[in-house]
Each structure stands twice: as structure tokens, then as C-alpha cells.
Amino acid sequence: MPTAIIDGRELPLPEGERLNGIEAARRAGVEIPHYCWHPGLSVVGSCRMCLVEIGTRDAKTGKITMQPKLMPACNTIVGDGTVLVTNSEKVALARARVEEGLLLRHPIDCPICDKAGECRLQDYHFQHGQDQRRADIRPFTSRRRDIGDITLFVDRCIMCSRCVRFVNEISGTGELMVVNRGAHEEIDVAPGYPLHNKLSGNVVDLCPVGALADKDFLYRQRVWFLRRHKSVCTRCASGCSIWIEENQDHIYRVRPRENMQVNRWWICNDGRYGYSYVHDPRRLTSPTRRAEGGRTPIDWAEVVAEIPGRFRAARRPAGVISPFLTVQEAFLLCRLLHKWHAQVVLAVGPGPLPAPGSEADETFPGGFVISAEKCPNRRGVEAIVSHFAGGLIGWGELLDRAGRGEFDAVWVSAGSPLPWISDEQAGRFSGVEHLVVQDLFPSPLSELAAFELPGAAWAEREGAYVNRRHWLQKAAWAIRPPAGVRTEGSLFWELLGREGLYRAETVLEEAATEIACFSPARGPIPEEGVQLTPPLIEEPIAPPPRRDSTPAQP
């Protein structure tokens, strides 16, 4: 087995993997500081923070020969017999000098910088820097420049060129560039061509210092007050892994969570900035009942007491299971409706959904895909519904049947952050006597509903989502729902008459046992998720597009 030696410790190297010095050292538990290197971008080796001593061990004699000069770990491929020394005096001095160099002209305006607290320059300075400033250059400017989607604090930049490589290699839009030369270098855009693309928010995460700042997050919260929660983006069917960062039940930002199986290191701006509907004041916050001349707020206890009876007594009930629900919630809702009335008609909806594998998917040069299908869990919900109903009924068919007055009780679960139903479509439900609408916002349909139930937003719910490539991921709840709102899961749990609090894990286990295609989700699910084996339903589904595992070359 090939073995590398990192700080005197032997590291067995996995076969068939090309690791550079930084990655190999990380496996050995040694963190090599770096600015310009990023696993998703090409190697430039310019920040010189990852300098290490490199040598080779002769396979026969075991003699180690070190190279006299320092080498950047990021551009060193670690193979059998590679020796890395990261803790020598020489390396420490080199790091200290790079830190000193970077701080020569840095404004050091940490107290007013958004990055403070999660800034590489700060962290590395405390870990590797010198305790005294020897330079006489006293920088004090922190020019701010609007470069499009993002704002740039010109003088904080350390010229790692990550953002420039990102727009060249991943988004393929190439707006950013370096202007001027030497110590006068700045990041800039060409006049009239601002940084404006659907992935532009990622450059803020890439920036190791506070140079590129998010206009949405700027000056809103100090990062050390934020708590972050593992979640999944629900703005399209790609299902990117994300961190939701919140403080006291208020989301301040959403950032990508590394997941090599799904989104790697990136998310799109729709997902990043699309959280604001969670805090929209127009959200429904109380269950209401249709009454003479308007709607009367009611208590959840009334909902729990009254709705089951109406569905049990119905002639022909139907359920609309939203692809915005988690696997668990869809499973519980189907079970619930089925339990109330064995002849219940279950449909997946609402809203017209583009066909799977649609051409309208947006693929970027770096391999990132924004799905044209704007719901997070269509695959999972379809599998569950077809399990309970023995087949799938589309939204269109349900509308037709509702329009013909076939149903007398319908449960519509929605949860889309965007308006999803027209007046005309809602009108088809006007003959439904017992209409239950569970949604985030008032809609033409909820006006008609006998019961209008407020739903919880994605950040408030716990569950699992199945993305367009049948990849199941868990999402934790990040914030509590607004007062008066109950999460779907806990409502269904109670309606099913189960004891105690809603437990998403139990429900997933139950679904995985009961539905064959969910069986990979049994047991603990790894952080990056599990692959369900398609086809999840009998209907033929286009095979998922192959994902290139290597980053695209510029």
C-alpha cells in the first residue's frame, strides 16, 4: 500500500485518488493553512501560505531526502514515499512572513468587517502570525466598490484570485478580473458588465477575507451569534445541501454545505437568497374556518377534533400531496387520509411540474445544475403516493375531476413559496364541501376552504427530501415556526393519534420498511445522503444525467 509521511506519521494513501499536500495532510489530521487553494478550483499556488518542506523516501533504503527549498503543498501530488514536514521552524517562519506581508496593506478594520469571526486572515494571523508589526506602512482605507450582485471592499483583498477563477471555471461568466499590477492590484469588473450571474453569491463564501461581501447579509449580524443547521435547499429539485444560519429564530443567511454527491461546494442565488419568504408578514399564522362574511380564527384543538370526522363521513374524499412536503410528512398524510377513508383519491400536486430531465435545467460549466423543476421532493412524494394509491394521478386530472364535482372532501397540502394557483383553477374546488387547505400564504383556494391551516416553511420542519436524481437527504429544522403555526409533521402525528412528539426518524424508518424503494434509507443516513434505487415508481423515468466528477478545465 502506498504510504506518505506527514510530520513523521505514516499515512496510508487510498488507491486511485490523487491527493495534494493539503488534502493528504488533512487526512492525517494536520491542517495546512491556505488561501488561494480550493478543492473546486484550479491550482494557482500564489498565496504561498501552504508552503511546506517536501522530501522523498527511497523505497529500498528508506532514506529520506528533503528538498532544500519550500514548496507549496497545494501543487504537490502526494504519492508513495512523499514526505511532508509542516511543523518545522522554517515552515512556521514562512507562514509568519506571508501573514506579515498580507497584513502590510490590509486595513485591519475587523470591527466593522462582516467576515470577522470567520476570516482566514484573522484566524491564521492568530495561529501563524507574528505578534508585532514591523512595517511602517499604515493602511487606513477600506474603499467599497459596487461590482454587481456583490459588494467589494477593495483594500481588504489579499489577491487569492479565488473569485476570478470561480467566475471563469464554475459559473463560466467571467465577469471578475484583476486590474493593475503588483501592490496596486484590485479585483474589478469591466465597465458595464457587473458581476451578475445565478451563482454569484458563491464568491462571498470563497473569499477568505472580508473583501467580497454579501449585500443581503451586510451589517445584519455578527457571525459569532449565528447558529447553523444542516438542511437541504428546497428551491428546486437539485436539492443542494445547505447550512441555514440563524439567530433567535431569524434566518440571516443560507450557505452551501459541501456534499460531493449533490452540489459539491456551491449553491445558486435562488437558494441562497430565497429564504426571505420564511419571515414574510403575509404568512398564515392561525387556522381559520369559513364563516358568514369572512373567516374566523379557530384553535388547533378544533381542527384536530373536527376534520377527521368530516373525511370519514365523506362520500368521495381526495388528497393533494404537495412535493414541498418532506418524505415523512407525505407518508403520514397519505397514511392519515387512507386511514380515514379507504377509497381516498391521492394526487401529487399542486401546480404543473415540468417533466423529469427537462431540457430547461440550467447546467453551468463547472457542472452545477439548477433544476427547472421547482419543488424539492417530487420523486419522494410520487413514490409514497403511488405506494398508497397504487398509481399516480396528476394535478390536471385532479382539477378536472374536482371540477366535475366528484369530491366532497379534499385535503390540499401546498407549501410553495410562490403563488401556485389561479382563480380559475381554484374555482373548480368551489363545489367541495369539506376543503382543507394547508399553505404558507393566502391563495384563491384558501379563500374557499372550509379549513385553512397555516403550514410551516422548510426551515421550520424536519424531514427528508428526494432530489431529481433520487438522492435522499435529511434536513434538520433550524428555526421555530411563527406563533400559531404547527408543523405539518406534528399535526399529522397527532391526527393519527400517536403518542408524544413528532419524530421524523421513526417515520422515515417506518416508510423505509414499508415502501421497497425507500429501503436504502433504513438505519442511520450519512450526512451526504443515500441513493434510492430508481425507478421509485412504475412510470418510466429518464435516467439521471451523469455528473462529471472532475471540475471542468477552463
Binding site: G45, L51, E100, G101, L102, R134, V178, A183
Partner: protein
């Protein structure tokens, strides 16, 4: 080596009437070497010949040319490129200019032969922007050669084709670094690439590429023309003590500028001493003054003192007196009236201006050294600054491994050599101009001249 018998070959045509024309070049036996190569030799024969000649690159680093060529992949299916480094921007260097202005066909013949040897299908001449006459004459030479069938498709009926293009630089020093040059031809910002991969494997447009200096290619032509024995009869053989030393064979163009009576470009065998060059070729230091310092091979090689000028000018000679190397072989002579503080300030200013800004140590180190020297010249220097300057000089560059390319070494060597060799002068200057504060060890306020005392320096620091 009997100096009397040395005949210039690289500059042989210079001074003849219309030396830049094809007619004049052919009448002196021009393009005969190319005809012979295409008729009699295979590319491998030429590579072997150059390898055996131990020709070392004349651009500054002195890397063996034949070895560089042999790094090219044997059976590369796609194109191979030859880049001609004519971005002669090292301060004090002007020998390529002489060649391209006065004997462009010799350079072009060298390019064609070298392209044949490296199996290149396209050659790019990266020409310095500030050389308009070179541009005119090289372009005319290319046009003349193409009209005569020395260039283009099916050269001289051999079935082999070559196109030569001139790419004009835009005045950046870093474009002379081979990967910076490649990036610049590709139309990008001239940020040198990290190696590996080396250009011979992945260079211009991600294809195998050889980058050679103008003078090197002219030497290739001479070796092919005159043979191995002739070439090896000139210069310095490899040192017997060092088995890896390829020696310093061949003629070399030496440019001499600065405070001498006859500045100019002279062709002499490698190994001639700097004293001979200054006293015999250039007619000694001007105005009867004494010699103070000599830059041996372009500014980035550092300085030699007047006592060190008996150093042989070969690839290892200047190294022995602490310089970076032979460099471009272009001497800058400073007479006794010239202040080394001014010299170093000018040098640092140049490198700070030309640093491409990619690597932190070079971008910040060159900038910091100028800031310190500006302050010293403004009468607010401290003795401690010399230590800081030396530390910058000792830690930036590709030799300590802290940068991608050698520009930082070029910035470091003048700092190191000037301060180490002329320390007294620097100390005297600082003590004389800053009698009150030269001894302080605290940082000095930079922006307002009033704060130079120890106390306020401390305040600025804390």
C-alpha cells in the same frame, strides 16, 4: 584560449551595409545551414548536436538548451509550439535588440532550425513593445524568408512547414518569464504559472512548448553551421569538481552600459573577465573616475564591487561573488560618484513596479522594500531597516521557494548584494540623514514626517 583569434560570429554581419536584408545575409552564406539541416539531418540529430554542444540558454538562467528540448514528449499527437523570448526587458540589457535590428535573418534561421529540431509547427516571437525597429525588421525578414520558401508550407521542398508570428508585448517585465510569456500570448494576464507542469509538457494553449531566447537560437544556428568543435573551442569547459556543471561554452554577447567611455554590445567568449570587458571593450570608466560597482548581468543579478571585477563572466563566475548568476551578460557600470542608496532605491522601485502581484512574498516584499528605501531617502531611515531589507532579500524568490517565478529573486539579489557589500555606505547615509532617529528599533510613522522619535514610534506601534 587565445583572445586574438576570437572572431565574432553572432555580430559578424553587424556594421555591414544593409545587414538586415535577406540579400546581404544570403551573400554571407545565410540559410545554408538551414538547407543542410533539412537535407541531411533529422530533428533528433539536431537535438543531439545541441545537447552535445552543452549550449546553455542565453536568456539569464543558463539552462542547457538541448536538455530543455529533450523534455518534449516523443510522440505528441497535437501541435508543439516554439516561443521565442524577445521580451528583452531586463534593465541594462540590449543585446537581442542588436541582433534583431542588424541581423534579423540570423535570428530567423536559428528559429527555423530550432523549430525543426523541436518539431514545432508554429513559432511565436514575443517581441518587446519598446522595440519598434526590431518589429519592422523582423517582420520584413519573415516576409522575405517566406517569399524565398524558407518559411511557410513545405519549406525548401522538405515537406515540413512552419509559420512564424510576431506577438508584441505591452511593456511588462514579467512577460519575459517563460510561463508569463505563454499566458500573455494566450491573451491572458501575464501571471506566471505554477510548475509542474512545465511548458515542455503543458505550455502554450496547453500544448508542449519550448521557450528560448533570441541569442540562444542564434547560437543554435551557429553550432549547426560551424559544428561542435568550433563551439566547444570557445568558452570555459565544465568544472572537473562538479559533474553536473555543463560548463560555459560558446561566444556570448555582452552589453555594457553605465559610466563607461564606450558603452555598447560586444561579442566575446564566455569566461572573459568583467575587468577586460570594462577596460578593453568599453574603454574604462568615464571621466577618469574610479569604478565603484558593476552589475554583472542585468539588474536582477545583484552587484559586484570594484574588487570583484576579475570574476570570469561565465555561467558560474558571478555566483562565486554572491551574484545571482551570469544573467543576460549585460554589465551596468557605476562610477564612484553614484550613491548605492539611490541605486538600490531605483532597483526596488523597478521590481515593485514590475511584480505581477500574484505571490504574496513578492508583491508585498518588493512594495515594502520601496517604502523603506523611500523613507531612508527622505531622511527617516533606521539602521534596523537594513536588517528588514536583508530579510526581505533573503526570503523572497524561487530559490528559497516562496514565489512561483524568478522575478522575486531578481528583486532580492540587488537588495542582498548592495546592502551586504556596501553596508558602510548605507549606515553612513542613514546616520548622516537621520541623526536623531537612526538607532530606533520601533516602527516609524510613515505618513507624517513629524513622528520619528522613539516615543511616537512606539505609540504608532501599540
Amino acid at each position: 584560449m587565445a583572445k586574438a583569434t576570437f572572431q565574432p560570429v553572432l555580430l559578424a554581419n553587424v556594421g555591414k551595409p544593409d545587414s538586415h536584408t535577406l540579400r546581404a545575409y544570403e551573400s554571407g552564406g545565410g540559410y545554408q545551414a538551414l538547407r543542410r539541416v533539412l537535407r541531411e539531418k533529422s530533428p533528433k540529430d539536431v537535438v543531439d548536436l545541441i545537447k552535445a554542444s552543452l549550449l546553455r540558454g542565453r536568456g539569464g538562467a543558463g539552462f542547457p538548451t538541448g536538455l530543455k528540448w529533450s523534455f518534449l514528449p516523443e510522440d505528441h499527437p497535437g501541435p508543439i509550439y516554439l516561443c521565442v523570448n524577445a521580451d528583452e526587458s531586463e534593465p541594462g540589457t540590449f543585446v537581442n535588440r542588436m541582433q534583431m535590428e542588424h541581423d534579423p535573418h540570423q535570428v530567423l534561421e536559428g528559429i527555423i532550425i530550432s523549430a525543426f529540431a523541436t518539431r514545432a509547427s508554429t513559432a511565436y516571437i514575443y517581441l518587446r513593445y519598446e522595440y519598434p525597429l526590431c518589429l519592422k525588421r523582423m517582420q520584413t525578414a519573415i516576409d522575405e524568408a517566406r517569399a524565398k520558401g524558407y518559411l511557410g508550407k513545405n519549406i525548401l521542398g522538405s515537406g515540413w512547414s512552419l509559420e512564424v508570428y510576431i506577438h508584441r508585448g505591452a511593456g511588462a517585465y514579467v512577460c519575459g518569464e517563460e510561463t508569463g510569456l505563454i499566458e500573455s500570448i494566450e491573451g491572458k494576464r501575464a501571471w506566471p504559472r505554477i510548475k509542474p507542469p512545465f511548458p515542455a509538457v503543458e505550455g502554450l494553449f496547453r500544448k508542449p512548448t519550448v521557450v528560448n531566447n533570441v541569442e540562444t537560437l542564434a547560437c543554435v544556428k551557429q553550432i549547426v553551421d560551424r559544428g561542435l568543435e568550433w563551439f566547444k573551442s570557445i568558452g570555459v569547459p565544465p568544472s572537473p569538481d562538479n559533474p553536473r556543471d555543463p560548463g560555459s561554452y560558446g561566444p556570448k554577447l555582452f552589453g555594457i552600459s553605465g559610466h563607461v567611455n564606450r558603452p555598447g554590445c560586444y561579442e566575446r567568449p564566455l569566461g572573459i573577465t568583467a575587468r577586460e570587458l570594462i577596460e578593453r571593450c568599453a574603454g574604462g570608466v568615464w571621466q577618469g573616475r574610479k569604478l565603484k560597482a558593476v552589475v554583472p548581468g542585468g539588474l536582477s543579478t545583484g552587484v559586484m564591487t570594484a574588487d570583484e571585477i576579475d570574476t570570469p563572466m561565465d555561467f558560474s563566475g558571478p555566483l562565486k561573488v554572491g551574484c545571482l548568476g551570469l544573467g543576460t551578460g549585460c554589465l551596468i557600470v557605476l562610477d564612484e560618484t553614484y550613491s548605492m542608496v539611490d541605486f538600490l532605491y531605483n532597483s526596488c522601485r523597478f521590481f515593485a513596479h514590475e511584480s505581477c502581484g500574484q505571490c504574496t512574498p513578492c508583491r508585498e516584499g518588493t512594495h515594502w522594500s520601496v517604502a523603506m528605501l523611500e523613507r531612508i531617502r527622505a531622511g527617516r531611515g533606521r539602521l534596523k531597516d537594513l536588517e528588514l531589507l536583508l530579510e526581505i532579500g533573503d526570503t523572497i524568490g524561487i530559490i528559497p521557494g516562496t514565489t512561483i517565478c524568478g522575478l522575486a529573486d531578481g528583486a532580492a539579489w540587488p537588495i542582498k548584494t548592495a546592502i551586504r557589500k556596501f553596508r558602510d555606505e548605507f549606515e553612513d547615509y542613514i546616520k548622516r540623514t537621520n541623526p536623531g532617529g537612526y538607532a530606533t528599533v520601533h516602527p516609524v510613522a510613515w505618513f507624517d514626517g513629524s513622528e520619528t522619535t522613539e516615543a511616537s514610534g512606539t505609540a504608532a506601534c501599540r
